[in-house]
């Protein structure tokens, strides 16, 4: 009898352990079966935090966050050189950085980053690469991130943009 109980407990513990570890397995399977979608999704989450918070955060912290986000984007770009999605995101992030640097009176760095952004976006066939237009566009895009809470943003940003 004691052995039956011990055996049943082992089975139950196994079922419980498996049940609880299923989400981890699910993420691992999803990541390995579709790495592009996984990476894109992670970047979306990261972007939502950075862009949203940068609107309200002190400029110094915003600069740090944007620089970190940019280096993540560039590391993804190194492994996927042809990605236009990443190229666009890098271009817009340079513009965002430039805007924050201008706020911090780092004029030469701001100009440099704006030029980098412009050259990234030029490779994507963007027609209006003037500083004024890109600043206005990014301000508009940032404001759409600001309108909603961080949790709802992923879903609603594109809906607003589109």
């Amino acid at each position: 009898m004691r052995r039956v109980i011990a055996f049943s407990i082992c089975v139950l513990l196994g079922v419980l352990g498996g049940y609880l570890s299923a989400p981890i397995l699910s993420v691992a399977v999803a990541q390995s079966s579709d790495p592009e979608m996984f990476a894109g999704s992670m970047l979306t989450t990261y972007k939502n935090l950075v862009v949203c918070d940068c609107n309200d955060r002190p400029a110094n912290e915003g600069l740090k966050e944007l620089s970190r986000y940019l280096s993540v984007l560039q590391s993804f770009k190194d492994t996927n050189q042809k990605s236009k999605v990443l190229a666009q995101e890098i271009g817009l992030t340079y513009v965002r950085l430039s805007m924050v640097e201008r706020k911090l009176n780092q004029q030469s760095r701001a100009d440099q980053d704006m030029k980098r952004g412009q050259s990234e976006l030029a490779t994507l066939g963007w027609k209006d690469l003037s500083k004024e237009h890109l600043t206005s566009l990014v301000t508009q895009l940032n404001s759409e991130y600001k309108q909603v809470g961080p949790k709802d943003k992923a879903a609603s940003t594109t809906a607003t943009a589109r």
């Binding site: 894109g40 979306t44 066939g125």
Partner: protein, 170 residues
Amino acid sequence: MKVLKSIFFCFVCLLAFLVAGAASCTIRAKYWGIPKVRASLAYSYTGFFGEYSFLQYNQADAEQGKAALLDYLGLLDRIQNERIQYPRYTLHFDAGLTYLRLYRLEMAANKPAEAGEYLRSAQKEFASSGMRGDLSSETLAKNIAVREAGEAKRYNKVEGTTVPATEQNR
């Protein structure tokens, strides 16, 4: 002998623990976890990709805009083909809207035959989404023109005036 029996029993218990764990993990992952994770990743990724394709359409030249819109349609198709749990309305609505944008680009490029094809595809997608109301070619063409004018106002401010993306592509 008794010691051997005990060791054997422990081994059986361990095996039962592992088999039960693997089985419950696989079943839960297959029927609950993986579909949910894939749906969440797809939802998030289409947002990211949708913004990219929209900005390419709105800001880049016609060729690049068209390529981005077709890539986005490819992604939506993939989500549909792989049967990822994704809101049906959103999927078809986004596809329909993308076809309408392609229609606008082809009209601006003076290719009415291709434009007409895209308009028909848009109608099909909107009908599949369950959308009710007037889905005639004229209404859809009018709606996308109005929508584009609004987008131009928001994203293409040129010295106080606005220029729709398709106008700029000309």
